[in-house]
């Protein structure tokens, strides 16, 4: 979770700055800085600052599109909406691709090289692996292992992206299931422990009987 710790401070700075800016050009600069910053991967806080939401319907509404793209979108979304988003700077491109990896790892823990190269517009394995190593694993947003033989990336940990409102219910459902499964697991473990205790009691009793019998036999022999 140290990604969240690292970016918490950044979110505070950018949201504070955005809340005092009124004019479009300075907000434009702020959005560009935020979507280019190497350590920031969360944008919903900035999106909800009033001065930003007010841009809707103005000539600066593209800034909202940019922030929404970085909050919830992927490189593929950008490519299919080139008209409504200004062209991105290299730092922004890299970040959007990093965020796309996070989105991909939401649906699967094994990402094939072919899928990644297609989604990220990367042409060869070396370039893909360098991107995953330098810009994803070394920046701390994902942890995992590269498997060249099976040409896939096994994700062990991926930082969370901003949630769209509609994702909340499925998250609550997943948590509820998890809770239920965990309760069952604990219940089963308790059962097992009880069973083990009972069995050990039975064993002890049985052992005692045997020992008593041995004693009796010894006495009889004497």
């Amino acid at each position: 979770m140290d990604i969240e710790d690292k970016q918490a401070e950044l979110i505070k700075v950018f949201t504070k700055e955005a809340s005092v800016l009124a004019d479009g050009p300075s907000l434009e600069t702020l959005v560009q800085d935020a979507t280019s910053h190497p350590a920031l991967f969360a944008f919903s806080e900035i999106l909800s600052v009033p001065t930003i939401t007010k841009l809707d319907g103005t000539q600066y509404s593209t800034l909202l599109n940019v922030l929404r793209l970085f909050a919830y979108g992927t490189w593929k979304d950008y490519k299919s909406n080139l008209g409504s988003i200004p062209s991105l700077l290299p730092d922004q491109v890299r970040k959007l691709k990093q965020l796309s990896v996070l989105t991909l790892s939401e649906t699967s823990k094994v990402l094939t090289y072919d899928q990644l190269m297609r989604e990220l517009d990367i042409s060869n394995v070396r370039e893909l692996e360098d991107f995953l190593i330098n810009d994803c694993m070394y920046s701390g947003i994902v942890r995992g292992k590269l498997d060249q033989l099976r040409r896939c990336f096994e994700v062990q940990f991926a930082a969370g992206r901003d949630l769209r409102p509609d994702q909340l219910n499925s998250m609550i459902l997943t948590l509820t299931n998890w809770l239920g499964t965990s309760d069952n697991l604990l219940h089963t473990i308790q059962e097992k422990i009880k069973w083990a205790d009972t069995m050990s009691e039975v064993d002890k009793k049985h052992r005692k009987e045997i020992e008593d019998k041995v004693e009796d036999v010894k006495k009889t022999l004497k």
């Binding site: 060249q148 033989l149 096994e154």
Partner: protein, 293 residues
């Protein structure tokens, strides 16, 4: 003997002024410090041993220097002369460094860098000198063969906030975090090294090569389940055969877990933690993350 000693000292002085270090050292090493005829006090003997070691060191002659620093080792424990003790420590670290005993050299350089005093005899210990010793400690640790002791010293150095101000810190950080060092970083690091730290070893690798390739192989083993030597060569910026050779040796020496499929020309890295153990570790990590939340 007295006259011989005076002549030798004078001649050694002359050689030293002409920077003929080994000649000066030979001249002084001819003085019989263990003579039964003349009383030679311990301080004088210690001073001469250290002086001869220093002179041989000036000529990068580690073997002869070590012979005299070893003699000094027997004398220094009873000595209370701070200057001599200080010089002994500095020269000993340099000799170990020169002999490529990097792990021990690193520990001694680090000890030197931690000295509190700023004045020993008439020798002033300035910040630059301490910083130099700290940098030398980091350099030797990086060049030392990978293993548990090196990891411990790396951790100590990484957590020593004085290191964060050193020019070498970015390299230290990557080595400590077990991250792959790319060719430009290695070349920049190489600029700061002394000749013997870039010397060619019998197996045709330089000291730096071997240290960097070993480090990068271990770093790659943290990132990959398996990798072809072709790609590994591209990743590390080295010849695939070279990578295979060093990987094979590290696996044989149990300094890396894995196996090499020469037919497919692929290395399979193994994680020595059992799957079940990994499962436990992952669950512990999950519960900790849950607690954090």
């Amino acid at each position: 003997e007295e006259q011989v000693l005076v002549i030798r000292e004078k001649l050694a002085e002359l050689y030293e002024s002409e920077e003929q270090w080994s000649k000066a050292a030979q001249m002084l090493s001819g003085i019989d410090l263990d003579s039964g005829i003349r009383m030679v006090d311990e301080k004088y003997r210690l001073t001469k041993c250290i002086q001869v070691a220093r002179l041989y060191l000036e000529d990068d002659d580690a073997v002869n220097a070590e012979a005299f620093i070893n003699k000094a080792s027997f004398l220094v424990t009873n000595s209370s002369h701070e200057v001599l003790i200080w010089q002994y420590k500095v020269y000993y670290a340099r000799i170990l460094d020169l002999k490529r005993k990097f792990q021990e050299a690193a520990l001694r350089y680090y000890e030197i860098s931690q000295i509190e005093k700023r004045q020993i005899g008439d020798e002033e210990i300035d910040e630059a000198g301490l910083e130099q010793a700290l940098t030398a400690a980091v350099t030797c640790t990086i060049l030392a063969a990978a293993g548990p002791q090196r990891s411990r010293v790396l951790a100590t150095l990484y957590k020593d906030e004085r290191c964060s101000k050193l020019k070498i810190y970015p390299i230290l950080q990557k080595v400590y975090l077990e991250r792959i060092l790319r060719k430009p970083e290695i070349d920049a690091f190489s600029e700061e090294l002394k000749a013997h730290q870039k010397a060619l070893l019998p197996d045709n690798f330089t000291v730096l090569d071997r240290a960097m390739i070993e480090h990068n192989l271990l770093s790659a083993s943290k990132l990959y389940t398996n990798i072809s030597f072709e790609e590994l060569g591209a990743l590390l910026g080295i010849d695939p055969q070279k990578a295979e050779k060093i990987a094979a040796r590290m696996i044989c020496e149990d300094r890396m877990m894995g196996s090499i499929d020469q037919v497919e020309s692929i290395i399979h890295f193994e994680d020595d933690t059992e799957e079940l153990q990994q499962w436990d570790q992952q669950i512990v990590g999950l519960c900790q993350a849950l607690n954090d939340i």
